[in-house]
Symmetry: C2
Subunit: 570 residues, 2 copies
Amino acid sequence: MHIPFARYLPILSWGRDYSRSDLGNDLTAAFIVTIMLIPQSLAYALLAGLPAEAGLYASIVPIMLYAVFGTSRSLAVGPVAVVSLMTAAALSNIVDQGSMGYAVAALSLAGLSGAILLAMGLFRLGFVANFLSHPVIAGFITASGLIIAASQIKHIFGITADGHNLLDLIISLGSNLGGINWITALIGLLATGFLFFVRKGLKPLLTKLGLGAGLTGFLVKLGPIVVVIATTAAVWYWGLDARGVRIVGAVPQSLPPFTLPSLSPALLSQLLLPAFLIAIIGFVESISVAQTLAAKKRQRIDPDQELIGLGAANIGAAFTGGFPVTGGFARSVVNFDAGAATPAAGAFTAVGLAIAAVALTPLIYFLPIATLAATIIVAVLSLVDFSILRRSWSYNRGDFAAVLTTILLTLAMGVEAGISAGVLLSVLLHLYRSSRPHIAEVGQVPGTEHFRNILRHDVITHPGIVSLRVDESLYFANARYLEDCIQTRVARDKDVRHVILQCAAINEIDFSALESLEAINERLREMGVQLHLSEVKGPVMDRLAAQHFLQQLSGRVFLSQFEAVQKISA
Amino acid sequence: MHIPFARYLPILSWGRDYSRSDLGNDLTAAFIVTIMLIPQSLAYALLAGLPAEAGLYASIVPIMLYAVFGTSRSLAVGPVAVVSLMTAAALSNIVDQGSMGYAVAALSLAGLSGAILLAMGLFRLGFVANFLSHPVIAGFITASGLIIAASQIKHIFGITADGHNLLDLIISLGSNLGGINWITALIGLLATGFLFFVRKGLKPLLTKLGLGAGLTGFLVKLGPIVVVIATTAAVWYWGLDARGVRIVGAVPQSLPPFTLPSLSPALLSQLLLPAFLIAIIGFVESISVAQTLAAKKRQRIDPDQELIGLGAANIGAAFTGGFPVTGGFARSVVNFDAGAATPAAGAFTAVGLAIAAVALTPLIYFLPIATLAATIIVAVLSLVDFSILRRSWSYNRGDFAAVLTTILLTLAMGVEAGISAGVLLSVLLHLYRSSRPHIAEVGQVPGTEHFRNILRHDVITHPGIVSLRVDESLYFANARYLEDCIQTRVARDKDVRHVILQCAAINEIDFSALESLEAINERLREMGVQLHLSEVKGPVMDRLAAQHFLQQLSGRVFLSQFEAVQKISA
């Protein structure tokens, strides 16, 4: 049966072959992911500056929409740390946190991000995300992790502090230190310590005790739930909320509500840049996880369809009380490891979270905010990885500069400034590099037909003939550089009568470079020097052949450099 | 004798060998250029919105400073049409034309442009100018020519009109048409018609009458001076200024005054972007002329030293009552054709203009503004060349888009918007192109060791081996595209056991691409596929060898694609 637009509905392909064993696998995975997601989604709502229930809502409908439109079999979509931080940074510039307008603006931000993702998917603009280089992403994630951890310290100590960059946060924390609530601090520090122990110490310990890898993994994943239950019980039993410990409090017992994002043009225009950055960052995080997991099963991810899946998920979040979401790394890996076979696992997770939203919310009334903060801190510190500085330094100073700039600007000025500067710098560095291409004067390696750099090899050259190899496509940014190089070389040596450009590494010649070649040809003719080309690639030759250049060329075009030198010197 | 900083003083090298014959040639050239420059420099001052004498001042000290610091033997520096237009556009946004502040702001603009040029020269940043692609420059010059011509129409008809883009100008002209001064219009139209005749009709006529090329050229160059003298005399004789014909009026009889540009931070920050664009555009115009003329005598231009020469000239203009200057095309060609042997010709021109400023200014009291406008219109219409649209269309749609955008935006929104959009678009197009490189699956051409595209050629392939040739350097913008391509190819065909990347066209691999290769290697390993490389260039190999990648590589690195396929299939 042919279904219109079926290419936009991956569910049709995997849904057709859905088997009983798939169902079993998906249900198991959904159960484990649900347990992991309950504290996480509450915590990320907190991080985004929203009431706790928004985290649950943001995990229900979006995950189902992704199951319909997404191509990854293992991706788990929902609130993630970096996107939640970006949400908070974007919104707090515009509306007061805690106000009604804040929650509505979060819906608008999700809707706008979703619309951007959807449009990019439909117009196949996924390549835009490629301009986030790996060093920029790594630097950004590390710096964001630090900022997120710093932003949660206030909750651990029960004080207030503001700011969306490290500097502001540290200053604000310092000036409010006097107000520490010691009971909150005790809960917060114990919870943090316990979670770190679960992550770093418990796993080796259980393995040493002879437990299987599966059971160990499951127990480790229970860690956050144990902390949530223990601290909630403690607050309830001793009535610590009356002694200044901030708690989650009353959460409505309901399925995700139907909500309408604000469409105010003033608000949307203020949210446009943050929404774009959230869309791109979310997409990059999501697609990296999805591709890594797909490769393990020799499956394939369609990046453009992924944009549509994530776009639908975010638009879903906008209409069901959520905030921007994307595919998360940790939860997707858990989903994959737990055996999720199809996106249906995501739909079952959504059902689990819906049950939690309806039935379990009274139980988290006494959950201390400090516990959620501890969950966030432990989760995000695993994102912090300064080794990218060392690795990029050892490979390439330009990439190192991009990482360092991204980290420093993100820490000092916030996420939007950091990522924008990183992208701009890496584009400029790339343009700079390609604007001064490697141009080698080459000569014939004796006894072969090969031509190599005269500075590195003992080669045969002919007086009167200069052979130059350009190791880069020719385009506007390096066209004039080539003019300079050739003019300098020929002006230096009055005996030169022939210049041969070996074009094997030239993948493209744009219109500027064509005009530069014409100018070079003309100027060399004025000097009484012929210009020849050798080893021109097929597509490049096709382009040149359609122009006057080849007729005007003072010299000839040769198939190989060897043939060129032989015929000219003869 | 060793002189410190001698490399920054090209005058030391040509000054040492200065001969009597050089002197004769330089004096002749200076005489002809002076006659040409008097009406031109008055007219361009008018175009820049300044009093006529500013044009003379801007041609005296700057030309001398360029003679000391510049490397071109033939370049004639002074006010030029496009830069004068940019000056008017930049200043009229900030200060009222005709006010004292306007002239001071013009000095600041010249000083700031000069400082930017100087800094770019000292830090060897001349490559920045390369980002103006040829199509963008051609489109910009054409559109500027039209705007300049349109801006002078009001002077031809003796009406008022405002605007720095074509739209505004046409609307403004239309609404003021009622105020035409018919005597002014007669003078203006006659002057324009005569100058067009001199340019297009007189030369063929004189040649037909058997005059030599040299004399013909000289007579043609006298055209503007003849018009200036005739119209000035007419106004004086019939007292036309009393009947509404606008004239140049009283011009101070003096050498260039010593002036101080304003250093107000508010003003300078407003002028920064225009000053930068003027510096870049001026530099590009100047260096193109200089290189073309230098090539004719097998001389060489040092672009970084040119920046210093033009920077000094503009700073000179700032302190002597001028405005931004650069090397002009028409006057440099005249200078070259007239036999200028060294930059001393420029210095002699400056002396000639200084004499004019002191002695001749009373004679231009009755010079009609309409005559100067006619000079400008005829000069700039020769810059208008729409053939760039056709030529770029036939070569490459992307380059065509850049030209068209530049022309349309310059005409509709002004010079700064046009050039900025053109540069941005050409950079984005370049990045887009290189973000989706040509990746061909290749096979062995029977009976050879060559590997060619399997879609274009009848080639031998081996089941289980996929050979891919990437026709582009690998960097962040295309790294993920390569991941997609390889994953898609391998997921499609379950028999694949080996992937060989033929790297002959890969001139560079940046850190992002390295990490992508690592990810590709890892994912292929998960799928049970080995990754091999072949024909890796020396510098690329050096980089890779310093990293862990080659140890982690599941396959091997081969010298040639042929060797790779032979050994793997064996």
